[in-house]
């Protein structure tokens, strides 16, 4: 039998048994599709989690008052007055860190005319914007002269600008914050969510102004960059502050130092468990798809065994039969695999479109490894259960195969 005939026979068989072909492909489509979709979602989730810190850069560090496991980096601890302005000044002496910025939290309710918005407000220093990689969109940053003069000026996030001013130009407008009027001097570029809180809802005013309003003589948070290995810088800061606060037992620390590297590790663990979870589910769907392929292939065996008997009775050699079934299985698994791949990627893309409405840092993603594994598994199952029965049937005498029930 010529190879072109073998191909033609295989395609004719696939085509003339449409329901069987479709059912076989369905198993592969579901298997490959769901694996690609779920690992894609997993990858996007992982990306989402990691994007919460990647904006900060690996050298970013933070000190906040209070201690214990409940003091996460996102919760600025109000009411803790352990980080004084003197501590802040003294920290400048450490050689392991630079670019320090201290901040005080203000009540987040802000209004313009009759428009109100509940954001988060901070009095901070010009260095802060550098550490957080904030870029200006319109107007300017809070600078050293604002700081020194204690001006009532505010830099607002794009979400604040949109909520309060709609289409108006916010620059030069006067907003009310903590019962005082501030002039808007700038709007920063969208940053997105950082540690799962929306950075674009922030309002910044000079630290000196915030201090004079609140009368606080302590800081709610200190940001900085490390210039050495963050672990080394953490140890340096801890021993320095313990000495200043006369703490001997680290259990009694009244401050917490964190680096973005540490946070990345923690979130990395979270996303690893997520990946494992998704992989487990994906493996299950692959097995389910595989069982589907197996069933339909085995169910078709009776009819196919007779067909093999007939083909042998009219002169087919064993290898003619095997090559025909091999090509059939390859054609089915290939088409099914590609449809499943397209479907999985398509659904992952649609999911990303939808989720982005709520979480704008969610990015569409697919896992190349998962695609390869899913395709190989589906093709393997299809080939195994397509060829193995054919191989057995081809070894029978034509009459045994024709009599098969």
């Amino acid at each position: 039998m010529r190879i072109t005939d073998t191909f033609a026979s295989a395609f004719r068989a696939v085509n003339s048994n449409k329901s069987r072909s479709l059912l076989t492909m369905l198993g592969i489509i579901i298997g490959v599709g769901s694996v690609v979709l779920m690992t894609g979602i997993g990858k996007s989730m992982e990306g989402l989690i990691l994007s919460q810190i990647s904006i900060l850069g690996p050298r970013a560090m933070v000190i906040f008052p209070g201690s214990g496991p409940e003091s996460g980096p996102s919760g600025v601890q109000a009411g803790f007055d352990s980080l004084t302005f003197d501590d802040f000044e003294a920290l400048h002496r450490l050689r392991t860190i630079d670019t320090l910025a201290g901040s005080i939290q203000l009540p987040g309710r802000v209004s313009f005319g009759r428009e109100e918005f509940e954001g988060a407000a901070f009095g901070t220093m010009p260095e802060y914007f550098h550490i957080q990689n904030v870029n200006i969109d319109r107007g300017r940053f809070i600078d050293q002269s604002d700081q020194e003069a204690g001006r009532f000026v505010a830099l607002i996030g794009p979400d604040v600008a949109r909520e309060l001013f709609l289409d108006q130009d916010p620059l030069g407008q006067r907003i009310h914050l903590a019962d005082r009027a501030f002039t808007v001097i700038g709007v920063f570029e969208p940053v997105g969510t950082v540690f799962f809180s929306n950075f674009d809802e922030n309002i910044f005013v000079p630290l000196s102004t915030a201090r004079s309003i609140t009368g606080k003589n302590y800081l709610d948070i200190i940001n900085m960059n490390s210039v050495v290995d963050p672990a080394l810088a953490i140890a340096d800061i801890e021993s320095f502050l313990r000495q200043r606060h006369a703490i001997t037992d680290p259990e009694n620390d009244d401050f917490t130092v964190r680096s973005s590297g540490q946070a990345e590790e923690i979130l990395g663990t979270v996303s690893l468990s997520l990946t494992l979870f998704i992989t487990t589910i994906a493996s299950i769907s692959l097995v389910v798809g595989g069982i589907g392929i197996m069933n339909i292939m085995l169910v078709a065996v009776t009819e196919r065994t007779r067909e093999i008997g007939l083909r042998k009775a009219i002169g087919a050699r064993r290898r003619d039969i095997l090559i025909q079934f091999l090509i059939e299985a390859v054609v089915l698994t290939l088409i099914g695999g590609l449809i499943g791949l397209a479907l999985g990627i398509g659904l992952a893309f649609i999911t990303a479109m939808i989720v982005q409405q709520f979480l704008d840092t969610y990015q569409f993603g697919v896992s190349a490894l998962a695609i390869v594994v899913a395709l190989l598994m589906a093709a393997g199952t299809g080939l195994l259960f397509g060829i193995y029965p054919a191989k057995r049937a081809a070894a029978l005498s034509p009459m045994e195969a024709l009599r098969y029930e």
Binding site: M1, R2, D5, S9, R12, S16, N17, E303, R306, E307, G309, L310, R311, K312, A313, I314, G315, A316, R317, R318, D320, S397, P398, M399, E400, L402
Partner: protein
């Protein structure tokens, strides 16, 4: 000059089926010779071993002991590929159950053996298949799917498939068994015509009337040859038996 060996010759041929350790003997000590160009009926009641004998003679099944010579050559010594080549070129079958490929057109079914034929050119296939379909009078149905045909039409497709490679021997296993008498007559007419044109025909049946279309009747009973008879009044299919639809 030695005389040509018979087309088929068996000596002490035996066949048993094995079901796990249980032996069921079907054929005992079969000795027969069939010459080229004969039209032979193998007759016997159900379970007599007639189909098994035909399947062995037609290379569809193996035998347990004895000798089978095809054109003087021992079949036992032939390898798989040689057997496949003989099935593709020298012999062909008409089965009681038709065994057409489902959901496949008449023409494709008839062309199927040509795919496995080692010498017939690709370009000749369609012409040969069309000719075979015409021989059995199904030209107007050539593009029908096999499952859209009546039993008689299916069997005529099977006959067309059997003669498309122009084999030396055509085996027919109860070809009229699933058919009404009119369709049966058409099938027998087709077989007699093939015999007229020089083919060797071996017909298996349990009906005396069907068997009498042949020139020679071999009767089997309980796996043994009971009689081998050429002395009977041969039936010919009359035109009045076949009214084309």
């Amino acid at each position: 000059m030695t005389k040509n060996p018979p087309l088929m010759e068996t000596q002490a041929l035996c066949k048993s089926y094995w079901n796990e350790d249980l032996e069921t003997p079907v054929l005992f000590d079969i000795n027969l010779k069939i010459e080229k160009g004969e039209f032979v009926s193998i007759m016997g009641p159900s379970g007599s071993g007639k189909s098994t004998l035909m399947h062995i003679l037609g290379f569809l099944d193996d035998f347990s002991s004895g000798t089978y010579l095809f054109q003087g050559k021992p079949v036992l010594k032939m390898d798989d590929d040689t057997l496949a080549r003989i099935r593709a070129t020298r012999v062909s079958f008409v089965f009681q159950a038709f065994n057409l490929l489902p959901r496949t057109t008449v023409l494709q079914n008839v062309m199927l053996p040509l795919l496995y034929h080692p010498t017939i050119a690709t370009s000749e296939r369609e012409q040969r298949a069309l000719q075979a379909v015409e021989t059995v009078g199904l030209t107007d149905r050539k593009d029908y799917l096999s499952n859209q045909l009546s039993g008689g039409q299916k069997q005529r497709v099977a006959i067309a498939r059997a003669l498309v490679t122009e084999p030396e021997v055509i085996f027919a296993d109860e070809p009229t068994g699933n058919l009404d008498s009119k369709s049966g007559a058409q099938v027998m007419k087709a077989l007699q015509d093939l015999h007229e044109s020089g083919h060797t025909i071996i017909l298996v049946t349990h009906e005396q009337a069907t068997a009498e279309h042949a020139e020679r009747i071999i009767r089997l009973r309980d796996g043994r040859i009971q009689s081998d008879d050429k002395d009977f009044k041969r039936r010919n299919v009359k035109a009045s038996d076949i009214l084309h639809i």
